[in-house]
Amino acid sequence: MTAARILSVGTKTPATRYTQEELLDRYGSTDPMIRSLFLQSHIATRYLTLPPLGDDGKPRAETQGELLRKHREGALEIGVGAARTALERAGVTAADIGYLACVTTTGYLTPGLSALFLEPLGLPARTGRVDVVGMGCNAGLNGLQPVAHWAAANPGRFGLLVCVEICSAAYVMDDTVGTAVVNSLFGDGAAAAVIGTTSGPAVLGFESHTITEAVDAMRYDWDDADHKFRFFLDREIPYVIGAHAEAPVERLLSRFGLKRRNVAHWIVHSGGKKVVDAIQYNLGLTSHAVRHTTSVLRDLGNVSSASFLFSYERLLDEGTPHPGDYAVMMTMGPGSTIETALLRF
């Protein structure tokens, strides 16, 4: 069977970028615990869409309705932007696209983004579509799976993956450490990839791993008191992910008779400093191996499902992959889930 190939990647962020210090100042956070969470995060800046300041000089509280509208508008803007860049880089026109997968967790909407993107992108009415909603930070690879399988089954045609996360539409601000963990970490961003069979690294296979005993470790729950969705991260996450990191990677590599040392490039989700440490020390990866993961975390924070494609874009910009090189993509998120994919340049 023909292998699916990643022809191109494109990314886009919203217009406004904040340093962690600026965010603390903007929200007037003086709690030392919260300040240290922000400042020790190994994140320098994030792109966010924040509400205007209210009478008290702090950003106005947003209703769930406002947050959902922010998600929809922001997702359309940066999602379409990322997709256009990816199409342009692939040298593929919108009319050539036969399949579209959209991935988001930071807002619920019906019809989904895959329907909303058709018109602004000029995609054909016959485009096959799927929306991956609510799967969290790992979902970019869950979205890549159907597009890659569709592309492999339709040689010569092209599919489009768009991961778009408006994490500032999932903001709850209540001066507690729990929300500060979330608010110090996530940023907005969109990334898209054109998948076909003609050029670019081949997608050789996927391997999933769901840690059901940690099903509650990452959640997006409805908060009755606040009338908002609220994201929750368990402090055990880095350890849960670290303890299970080897299993899917070994399964994936052994299917192709490979060892970890045969993998030239690691494209790992920028989940947070502790999660990246856990991956590094459990898989025996050097800091160099996760340099794009840490630099994306530093510059953008955790952009949820889009993060790994930002790292992938930086790897391509660096120009280090050589023909024949193997790469592993690895994303982690709620479930708790580890998703992996093997590429060959």
């Binding site: 020790q40 880095p238 303890a243 400093k273 502790k274 856990a278 590094q280 020390y281 459990n282 025996g284």
Partner: protein, 248 residues
């Protein structure tokens, strides 16, 4: 499995792999065979807990053989790149590593010693990093040596290229101990590593190697990730079980 070695002798005895350098200089063939041995140790040698590197005929290693050092035939940077890769690979082997130094230990010989966990010397050992006097650089000894001996001493050893004896090498901390009988010294050194729990050996070595270049804030995160990996291993779980046994 490990057939066709020409420049090395490889033997496994009682859980210890003995790697003997048969040539007195490092050429591209030695580098390739060291890679072959490393691959075997990483993939197929689960019973091996320690690896010993030693020389032959009273010499450990006299440095690089420039007649045949580059994989492409002509002389270029690629041979050095391959050499550094094999040094880093030996430094990360999932085994405790011991090197026995004797006679001439020059250039690449010292570099190889610096990537081993335990460095023993016979009284005959004479160490020298002679590269700078020959107009090139002593590889990543430029990175590793100062961690062992301090910056000032490293400058003396690398820039003034003195030949030092086993005692001075020990006093500087390059050599752990001087042994008079090779086999007894090696056996004692391996015994001193105790049960050799692979994960604890690998991670303690990695954190130590990273210690000079990492901020405390980064290092504490690395440590916690590494410690969490260690305490999930059978070795540590057994330790806890033993301690939890009620006293009778």
């Amino acid at each position: 499995m490990l057939a066709g070695l020409e420049t090395l002798r490889y033997e496994e005895r009682a859980g210890v792999a003995h790697v003997t350098l048969l040539r007195d200089r490092v050429d591209v063939r030695v580098v390739r065979e060291l890679a072959k041995v490393s691959e075997h140790l990483e993939d197929d040698a689960a019973d091996v807990r320690a690896v010993v590197f030693r020389g032959s005929n009273g010499t450990f290693c006299r440095g690089i053989d420039f007649k045949d050092f580059d994989p492409n035939g002509d002389f270029d940077i690629h041979g050095f790149n391959l050499w550094e890769k094999i040094c880093a690979r030996i430094e990360r082997l999932p085994k405790a590593t011991v090197v026995l130094l004797e006679g001439d230990v020059i250039g690449a010989g010292v570099q190889l010693a610096l990537v081993c966990d335990a460095r023993l010397a016979l009284p005959s050992a004479r160490l020298q990093l002679d590269e700078v006097h020959l107009g090139f650089l002593p590889g990543m000894a430029t990175f590793r040596l100062a961690k062992y001996v301090g910056l000032g001493r490293a400058k003396r050893l690398i820039m003034r290229c003195p030949t030092i004896g086993a005692e001075e090498a020990r006093d500087l901390g390059i050599v752990d101990e001087i042994v008079t009988d090779a086999d007894t010294g090696i056996a004692d050194a391996i015994r001193s590593f105790g049960p050799i729990h692979t994960v604890a050996v690998e991670l303690s070595r990695r954190l130590l190697n990273e210690s000079f270049g990492t901020s405390f804030e980064d290092a504490i995160g690395h440590f916690l990730a590494a410690q969490h990996r260690s305490i999930r291993q059978t070795a540590f779980l057994e330790t806890v079980k033993k301690q939890k046994k009620p006293r009778t």
